[in-house]
């Protein structure tokens, strides 16, 4: 843990505003932006980061003429919960080649929801692998598309080899109440994890 955000001038602040973030992850087109938009108080915003070819894993940029930099877009929403508390929801870029960007996005997050499209379940392998190898608490949310095959949650848990202690829920990314439930599950899971780790004497996830 570091104190990068520690501000010794804090004393002259009139009011400190705390912000927290939850990450909405998942493969290409699984409904991340839809989920964020369903609950955000602002239309999801996009911010762009410019990367060198090296950053996206293209080792020899000379093979990509005129393409030394590439733009990675991520979108996010905001929920102002109180005058001094803002929750941000960050969607990850869908393409897995931008994973180094995921590292920046998850840093300091409360937790993550990994969205799975029930029509393309195996697309979830890569995002799930990513989170299995991180300390961040996460839950898996099955985004039900209308034309998708209907699976039982336990079938999906087995197919994706999702560990018993990772919550798995159904959702409809277009509906606010459903999205709210997903986010509640993320935070409850993060609290439980923190409590367990504390009980076992581990330092908190940060």
């Amino acid at each position: 843990m570091d104190f990068a955000n520690y501000d010794p001038a804090g004393a002259r602040r009139s009011r400190e505003i705390i912000s927290a973030k939850i990450v909405v992850a998942g493969g290409f087109g699984v409904g991340k932006t839809t989920l964020v938009g369903a609950i955000s108080e602002i239309t999801p915003l996009t911010t762009e980061a410019l990367m060198t070819a090296a950053g996206v894993g293209i080792d020899d940029s000379s093979k990509v003429p005129g393409k030394e930099t590439t733009t990675v877009a991520m979108d996010f929403g905001r929920i102002t919960m109180a005058q001094d508390l803002i929750l941000y929801l960050f969607g990850t870029p869908g393409q897995t080649r931008f994973w180094f960007m995921w590292d920046e996005i998850i840093r300091g997050a409360v937790g993550a929801a990994v969205l799975v499209d029930t029509r393309r379940i195996t697309d979830a392998f890569a995002p799930l692998d990513y989170f299995e190898n991180r300390k961040l608490p996460y839950v898996v949310a099955l985004n039900r598309f209308d034309d998708a095959p209907q699976y039982e949650l336990e079938e999906v848990r087995e197919a994706l080899a999702i560990s018993r202690d990772v919550p798995l829920v159904m959702c409809d990314a277009r509906h606010r109440d459903s999205v709210k439930q997903v986010l509640v599950t993320v935070v409850e899971h993060a609290m439980l994890r923190l409590q367990n780790e504390h009980g076992r004497g581990y330092a908190p996830v940060g």
Binding site: S14, E16, S19, T47, A49, T69, L87, M191
Partner: protein, 120 residues
């Protein structure tokens, strides 16, 4: 040989606004919120066009680094450098992004987020 760049350092800040610097003077999280009061916003008039735009975005409503980048349409890396400068110059106030300093504090934050969500 090209030195290996770390992923964060690989963010290119192509604009002259940062005078070629690519490392911000302090690390600012995507969700860290910044605000400018009326005095800060007035002072920022003399800090150049881009900094003034940033101060305007943050005046009266706290905005995260990510929001500032989105509203000003500047790449994240450029925005981070400028915002860090402005914090150092006193033109913006940096608020704490989710402190992870201790168990009680973290639990308390999670609890507040949870009830905030339930109340939606």
């Amino acid at each position: 040989m090209e030195p290996r760049r770390d992923p964060r350092g690989a963010l290119v800040r192509p604009y002259a606004v940062t005078r070629g610097r690519t490392e911000p003077s302090r690390d600012i999280a995507l969700e860290a919120v910044l605000s400018a009061n009326a005095t800060q916003a007035t002072e920022a008039r003399f800090a150049g066009h881009d900094k003034y735009r940033i101060a305007t975005v943050c005046e009266g409503r706290a905005q995260s680094l990510a929001e500032i980048a989105a509203y000003t349409r500047m790449p994240l890396g450029v925005t981070r450098v400028l915002v860090a400068d402005m914090v150092a110059e006193g033109l913006l106030t940096l608020h704490t992004a989710a402190p992870a300093t201790g168990y009680e504090e973290r639990m308390n934050l999670l609890g507040r987020v949870l009830s905030g969500l339930r109340e939606l």
